[in-house]
Amino acid sequence: MDKRDPFRHNVLTSGHRACSGCGEAMAARMVTDLIGPDAIYVNATGCLQVFTTHNQQSAWQAPWIHSVFANAAAVASGVEAALRAKGKETPVVVQAGDGGTFDIGLQCLSGMIERGHDVLFVCYDNEAYMNTGVQRSSSTPHAVRTTTSPPGRLSQGKHHLKKDVISIIAAHHLPYAATATVAYFPDLKAKVEKAMTIKGPRFLHILSPCPLGWEHDSALSVTVSRLAVETGLFPLVELEHGELTGVMRLAAQRPVEEYLRPQGRFKHLFGSKEGAVELRHLQALADARIRRYGLLSADTEWDTESVAQVQRHGRGGYVSAPQEMDDER
């Protein structure tokens, strides 16, 4: 018997305990509403698990399971295997943060993809261990201030580069992997919908700003994630079977400073000689990503269906650069 409340259709309901402006809550709401309640959700330990299932309460209106931090992809593998054995085709979706994806969960994720489980793995990347109070992860970008990568007399924040996880995932030659942000909903929607039409392991990497950890105004979460794309620091791409099949082209490149300025986690870089070096480094990283993915190439003509989707929806996202967008058209 179907015991769901016919008047409530959201998978993730209101009343959860996310901070105001939480990019992860926004992204999870978008993703789970697109997939719907006829799916099984497996969650890694992290903010999303904590703020949705606090102390015997639950904000989930779909079957949802959390086990431990590192094992979400393996639990999902088991769920999917059980469904296959029972002849059911219920979609299985993993939700994890960057810790549960880039770091502690990477081994189980790699195993899940290698074995070809029919699971969509969604990483909500807020670039640090926010649930435990903003400690650096391997997703934290270069030079960011966290509580475990503090700037000091001898340091300008995190010393290491953000792990290129989408390339690691793509190297498994899985059917579909893509990046997205909460700032471009049509793009995100197209990618979730596309992922749900494909059998096998799929991976979505969604940049999800954290006002608490990134130290920006909670009203700016969408703006900040849009700037991450427009500066080239977070390219929106699609990869199929390991090959790049789609990018969201940029109408124009914005300087990284526009992205860094509103965020307190980069504040220490402004006003010192050492900080200026790191700012140049961050700009160089953005430039390199733009070159690597051809984000500014006017003649980028992709001819696969997936790329057409990204370009169609991606162009709708060029809201902050209307003139350049018009020129492009």
């Binding site: 079957p63 094992n71 639990v75 593998s77 295997a81």
Partner: protein
């Protein structure tokens, strides 16, 4: 019909007869023959299951967790380092009250790395909330595996069947494999109430805090305690249906009139029974008691069997460094609570695969010193030539 089977083969056949839908494992000596045989059964179409080659034991435990939560009967097996790598997930399976069944092919824990048998691995998981059944023979391994699924699914508790690596897993014995119809008659199809299902959406593994966490743990404890009755009943029922029974929680041997009782676990008890026979022939009042179910700890059953003993020796293949024999410590506490003052002589031996020969066991019994209350434990002597077994001194090595 009896077949000559390696312990690993026997237990794998029992798994097949229980019809798991998901088998997940990561290879580790001495568990490998179990999962190799199951992989072959799946490849040959003799077992209709998803066989998942996990990327680690941590992954294997997580896969069976997910499979059972999604309503499938599941199986995994491991040993030693693999069991310890599973630790976080095993606690989680127990806390979520998922009826997972696994085999631990008991092996020593490094360092130093050692692939041979002792009980340190599963003993280290004694507080994880898993029922633990230590088997003595290949036949008992197969039969206990079948019992384990029924116990797990009725109690909603995970069960670990512990069988000695090599001594059982790699040793051939005649095993009577039951028919599929007999197993189907004993073990009902798996029906799990808390299954992940979109038509009845449930949240599994959500948060809990100080105002209710303890209640979850208390319920877990009470269910574990009550599982003693279930384990005894299902072993007895197994006896009625299959003609074989293992004493439920504990199995006694020549305890009538025994003033010295040796308590132990697992495959070493065959040798212990031979020693008991030999000493009985010499007129000594010696008996043996096998602890089959270590978790839940059958304190009452042990007290009843040991009440009359004047000397109790616990011989075990694991210990808590700096504290002594784990079973001995728990037995001392149980006896003390019951007002029984008999000294428990804690002897550790058979570590890392070392043989506990009848000669060594006899020397241990002869060397028991019931008056030394201050000693935490002593260690079994090294190999003793059959000629020297009458020297009590040999046991102090």
């Amino acid at each position: 019909m009896k077949k000559l089977l390696e312990g690993s083969q026997a237990v794998a056949e029992a798994v097949r007869l229980c019809r798991p839908q998901v088998v997940a494992a990561y290879p580790i000596t001495p568990q490998t023959h179990i999962i190799e045989r199951l992989a072959q059964h799946v490849a040959d179409g003799e077992l209709a299951a998803e066989f998942i080659n996990a990327e680690s034991e941590f992954g294997a435990a997580s896969i069976v967790l997910g499979a059972v939560a999604a309503g499938a009967r599941a199986f995994t097996a491991t040993a030693s380092q693999g069991l310890l790598l599973m630790t976080e997930v095993l606690y989680n399976i127990a806390g979520m009250r998922l009826p997972v069944v696994m085999v631990c092919a008991n092996r020593a824990v490094g360092a130093p790395i050692n692939i041979f048998s002792d009980h340190q691995d599963s003993m280290a998981l004694r507080d994880a909330g898993w029922i633990q059944i230590y088997v003595e023979s290949n036949q008992e391994a197969a039969d206990s595996l079948i019992q384990a699924y029924r116990i797990a699914e009725v109690c909603e508790l995970p069960v670990m069947v512990c069988m000695d690596g090599f001594f059982l897993t790699h040793t051939f014995e005649p095993v009577d494999l039951p028919s599929q119809a007999m197993v189907d008659g004993y073990l009902p199809a798996f029906r799990f109430a808390r299954t992940l299902d979109p038509t009845q959406p449930m949240t599994l593994g959500g948060g809990s805090e100080a105002d209710n966490y303890q209640e979850f743990r208390v319920a877990q404890h009470h269910t574990m305690e009550n599982a003693q009755t279930v384990i005894e009943a299902f072993d007895a029922d197994f006896g009625e249906q299959f003609g074989r029974t293992y004493g439920g929680l504990v199995q006694d041997y020549r305890l009538a009139g025994a003033d010295t009782v040796l308590l132990g676990l697992g495959s070493l008890m065959g040798a212990v029974r031979d020693v008991v026979d030999r000493l009985r022939d010499q007129g000594q009042a010696v008996g043996a008691l096998r602890l089959r179910c270590f978790r839940p700890f059958p304190a009452q059953a042990l007290i009843e069997q040991l009440r009359a003993a004047q000397r109790i020796i616990v011989l075990e293949k694991a210990f808590s460094a700096g504290a002594g024999g784990i079973v001995a410590i728990e037995l001392r506490a149980a006896l003390q609570q019951a007002g029984i003052t008999t000294t428990v002589d804690s002897v550790i031996g058979g570590l890392g695969g070392r043989d506990l020969t009848p000669e060594v066991i006899e020397a241990i019994i002869r060397g028991a010193k019931p008056d030394e209350h201050e000693a935490t434990c002593r260690f079994a002597p090294d190999h003793i030539a059959p000629d020297n077994i009458n020297s009590g001194e040999a046991s102090h090595g």
